[in-house]
């Protein structure tokens, strides 16, 4: 029993340590600057840091950009990956195995490491500083194709044949049979994708120039990197604002988030 108690204490200590940074940020953001480094329990609460942060940079625009960006990427991913996964799962065509192997290359060599060349491509296409430039390299997701191919493969062939018998073509079968059955996987994938792209930073930093296409992460960095004195209260307020939506969504839909990531991990 002693080991049990010890274990519980250990687990709680780790949990406490893990929560500490966020708790620290929350404290600093909701208290005036004078208390940012002094932990006086009776310190007054304030929303003024959030107001200052909001006024100091066009966060509203950043929010819009980010929302549009993740939505656009997700929509494209769902369509493209579904089509490709369907092909790999159910159709035999010449060169299929090689094509699939080439797709898997992206699992290891992600667009994130090819920043120099992809930047050159975007420049040639003339779409720098647009949401499209940020999203295009990610729209064909090897992870998505892989996941959906696995899922489609488990769909019983009888259902497929039944649809065919009723005269449905390939695409209609896909829509009527495969997609509904893969719904949990779609939800899982969507959550993973949105999380990833909401938080992505380096590629958007390189490819965006102005407020037009700048997402929250880049906006936050520009805002807090001033060569002038660092004001932690305002920066932590901005930080919480930036990560707020995902955090709140996560707190509300904890089960779904966890289940989704779990499902995405099961191969």
């Amino acid at each position: 029993m002693k080991t049990r108690a010890l274990e519980t204490a250990g687990a709680w200590l780790l949990g406490f340590l893990w929560a500490l940074p966020l708790a620290y940020a929350v404290w600093t953001a909701f208290h005036p600057a004078a208390f940012s480094t002094h932990f006086v329990p009776s310190a007054p609460l304030t929303l003024e840091n959030f107001a200052k942060a909001w006024a100091a940079a066009p966060f509203a625009r950043y929010f819009v950009n980010t929302t549009l960006l993740v939505t656009m990427i997700l929509a494209a991913q769902l369509v493209l990956c579904t089509l490709a996964a369907y092909a790999f799962a159910r159709f035999s065509f010449r060169g299929r195995e090689i094509a699939f192997l080439l797709v898997l290359v992206q699992l290891m060599i992600m667009p994130d490491v090819l920043i120099v060349e992809n930047y050159r491509t975007m420049s040639r296409l003339g779409i720098l500083d647009t949401l499209g430039a940020i999203g295009l390299p990610y729209m064909a997701s090897a992870f998505g194709i892989f996941l959906l191919r696995q899922t489609f493969k488990t769909v019983p062939k009888e259902l497929d044949e039944a649809a065919r018998v009723e005269g449905a073509g390939a695409l209609l079968t896909l829509w009527r049979v495969y997609v509904p059955l893969a719904r949990p996987v779609y939800v899982a994938y969507a959550l993973v994708s949105v999380s990833y792209h909401w938080n992505n930073f380096l590629w958007p930093l390189i490819v965006t120039n102005s407020v037009n296409s700048r997402p929250l992460t880049v906006g936050l960095q520009i805002f807090s990197s001033g060569d002038q004195g660092v004001d932690w209260s305002i920066i932590t307020a901005a930080t919480l604002m930036t990560s707020g939506p995902l955090l709140i969504a996560f707190l509300l839909f904890q089960r779904q988030f966890v289940q989704s990531f779990m499902r995405a991990g099961i191969r």
């Binding site: 003339g126 990197s225 060569d227 002038q228 004195g229 660092v230």
Partner: protein
């Protein structure tokens, strides 16, 4: 003269007058200008810039000006070059004065001599402090116009001085005094941990700038005017670095390791340090946030007084129409006019970039009530150009790395500077042909 002739004369005059009126009407197309600018000092700088743009547009209805805040100096030059390489550069930009060679090498900007051709314009080009023109001219041409310029200054906490038994109105004037005062000001608690340092000289991000303070005071320059040679391993440079390192290693008046630029002013407000070296651009920030009496002084003299200049210049980009270039010139002349330069200096703490700005009524009254504002200007006579060469980013990084190695104790000052010099020579080799 016959009636017919008079008639024709009147008609000719009328047409001429009408033509004059028509010309500006044809040029009614608004000229669009945009410029990137960095902010490196505390305060509501973006608001001030935006209000400048609004005021200019009111006085010049045919021109639209869009200021774009781009982050730090580093981030701004990256953004500008990115925009340039993607074919859509801005028409003007405020960039660190040392980026001049980079901009020339990338064929991005035009010299002001090409468009500031009238007698009045030429006089305007000569109306700035010569110290600020050091980083703005090369090859006999003027490539940048000073806008938000600064020098390093020493801020000191008068309360702390009194506490340590020092005259609160007498800042250290020499290298020896700097050490002596800092020793008296460093406070330690019972277990020997420091609760207040005597001096903080930041070394994160761009330590080379602070370093130039030490080297200038030791009477040595780091590069040549043409930007093709560096002198990192000169004896006087190594000596200067040894002095800096010894502040924490030997005299223990400065924390060891790298000191963050961004948090040094806050450390000063929190009384974690009694003296600090930072830009005069932080003056308004310190005035607003220090809860104690403080002083501002020129940097202490080694063999002589000295500081590098710092800050940003305005540039006009090549890839813009003649109309845009003319409009840009108009804006830059407007924003550096004596009254506006004075207002900008007062609101931020930057040094108003031209002598006649200091003669305006507003500035004179401000200095009378707050003498600290004139310290940086007075230091200009001892100022030298900021480190600037071709391949500036790399050559500067070579020095920065060496400085940080010496300050963290992983290399001796001699070794660090020799390595930095070797690296810089390798980078600059193609430019010395």
């Amino acid at each position: 003269m016959s009636m017919k002739r008079i008639g024709r004369l009147i008609a000719a005059v009328l047409i001429a007058v009408l033509a004059q009126g028509a010309a500006p009407a044809a040029a009614q197309q608004p000229v669009d200008l945009s410029f990137y600018y960095p902010v490196a000092v505390g305060g509501p700088v973006t608001k001030i810039i935006d209000s400048f743009a609004a005021d200019f547009q009111k006085e010049n209805p045919g021109i639209r000006v869009k200021p774009i805040y781009a982050g730090t100096y580093q981030e701004t030059i990256v953004k500008v070059l990115t925009a340039l390489k993607s074919g859509e550069p801005p028409q003007m930009s405020v960039l660190l004065s040392t980026d001049m060679f980079t901009l020339i090498d990338e064929d991005a900007v035009i010299p002001f001599d090409d468009i500031a051709t009238s007698v009045e314009d030429k006089a305007w080009l000569k109306s700035f402090f010569p110290a600020f023109m050091l980083n703005s001219q090369t090859g006999g041409k003027t490539w940048g116009i000073p806008f938000q310029r600064s020098t390093i200054v020493l801020y000191w906490n008068k309360e702390a001085f009194r506490e340590a038994g020092l005259d609160p109105n007498k800042p250290p004037a020499s290298w020896a005094e700097q050490i002596e005062y800092a020793k008296k000001l460093t406070k330690r608690d019972a277990s020997g941990n420091v609760t207040r340092w005597g001096l903080k000289v930041p070394s994160s991000g761009f330590p080379y700038w602070l370093f130039q303070g030490f080297t200038t005071q030791n009477d040595v320059l780091l590069m040549n005017q043409a930007g093709t040679e560096t002198y990192y391993d000169k004896l006087a440079v190594i000596e200067a670095l040894q002095y800096w390192v010894d502040l924490s290693k030997v005299h223990k008046v400065m924390p060891p390791g790298i000191i963050e630029w961004g948090t040094t002013p806050k450390d000063f407000f929190e009384r974690q340090t009694a003296m600090m070296w930072t830009t005069t651009g932080n003056l308004t920030n310190v005035k607003n946030n220090a809860s104690f009496e403080f002083g501002v002084a020129m940097l202490p003299a080694g063999k002589r007084r000295g500081s590098p200049t710092g800050g940003g210049n305005f540039h006009i980009f090549k890839k813009s129409t003649p109309a845009q270039q003319a409009a840009s010139l108009k804006f830059i002349k407007w924003i550096t006019s004596p009254e506006r330069a004075a207002a900008w200096g007062i609101d931020t703490g930057y040094v108003a970039v031209r002598p006649d700005a200091w003669e305006t009524g507003t500035m004179k009254r401000y200095v009378a009530g707050f003498p600290a504002a004139a310290v940086a200007r007075d230091q200009l006579q001892f100022a030298v150009a900021e480190l600037s060469t071709h391949e500036n980013q790399r050559v500067t990084k070579a020095l920065n790395d060496g400085l940080q190695a010496a300050l963290t104790g992983t290399k001796t000052p001699e070794q660090a500077m020799k390595d930095s010099q070797r690296e810089a020579e390798r980078i600059l080799r193609p430019y010395r042909k």
